[in-house]
């Protein structure tokens, strides 16, 4: 199991959807942290607290983007444990995983 603390290992100010939007975008978080962890290790704990807020475009690209890349929704739901004081964040992320459509489909 691996733990990713967003505020410490990525940024306290994550923002933007794509890498061209900035260095701490959703795409960047997905590419640098989520994808390598999911390909290498069974389970991930993501600590979302400590950040000065998340934009929905960041969350959608980071987590919904995993489904578009080909990760299975059920695998993501079982492998990723989201930790946050604000339940709205975990609910919103799970909605993005659920609603995302695989690109190849």
């Amino acid at each position: 199991m691996i733990t990713i603390i967003v505020a410490e290992q990525f940024s306290r100010y994550p923002a933007g959807r794509f890498t061209k939007d900035g260095p701490f975008s959703g795409e960047s978080f997905r590419t640098k942290h989520l994808v390598p962890a999911l390909r290498g290790i069974e389970n991930i704990v993501i600590e979302l607290d400590g950040v000065r807020g998340y934009g929905s475009s960041f969350l959608e690209e980071a987590f919904g983007g995993l489904v578009r890349l080909g990760f299975l929704k059920n695998d993501l739901k079982t492998k990723i444990a989201l930790h946050a004081k604000n339940k709205s964040l975990t609910t919103e992320i799970l909605e993005y995983i659920e609603k995302a459509v695989p690109t190849s489909a």
Binding site: A15, F18, D21, G22, G53, Y54, E60, N86, S88, T91
Partner: protein
């Protein structure tokens, strides 16, 4: 001490107790109203800033960052005042209406007054205000005893 004087004392204590409880309830209601009014000020500021951001001619990274900070602050304050589980969908609706579309440098474009994004922002703010007021009215009804002591959280 006679039975009649015991009853008198009992009535006095019970009366004092009831007065205290309703006085506390009234104070709590006033406190809650004041806290909610401040929360609404922040909500209206977020709405105004969000509309201004999406109506801008060019992408403003400072305004975008401030909006995310304000949304985060709004949720933190809401958590302190109310049972936040009742408002999770409202929080998501609000954040999404402002920050899901047209919120990034690479895709930003100036929005028209009657565009879907602005409409969704206004709706999200109105829905949020309505949901909070409904909760407040359930907790502090207009009729006697003016408070529900054991309000179900859902």
């Amino acid at each position: 001490m006679s039975i009649s004087s015991e009853i008198t004392w009992l009535l006095v204590v019970a009366g004092w107790g009831l007065t205290h409880v309703f006085s506390e309830a009234r104070e709590r209601r006033k406190e809650m109203r004041a806290q909610l009014d401040k929360l609404y000020e922040l909500l209206f500021a977020i709405e105004k800033d969000a509309r201004s951001f999406h109506r801008s001619e060019c992408f403003d990274i400072v305004k975008a960052s401030e909006l995310i900070l304000k949304l985060n602050t709004f949720e933190r304050i809401l958590t302190r005042i109310l049972f936040v589980d009742n408002f999770i969908q409202n929080i998501i609706q609000l954040r999404r209406s402002i920050t899901l579309y047209n919120f990034d440098l690479s895709i930003f474009s100036q929005q028209a007054l009657d565009c879907d994004i602005l409409h969704k922002i206004i709706s999200a703010c109105e829905d949020f205000e309505d949901a909070i007021e409904q909760y407040y009215l359930r907790k502090y009804p207009h009729t006697f005893p003016y408070i529900r002591f054991w309000l179900d959280q859902k």
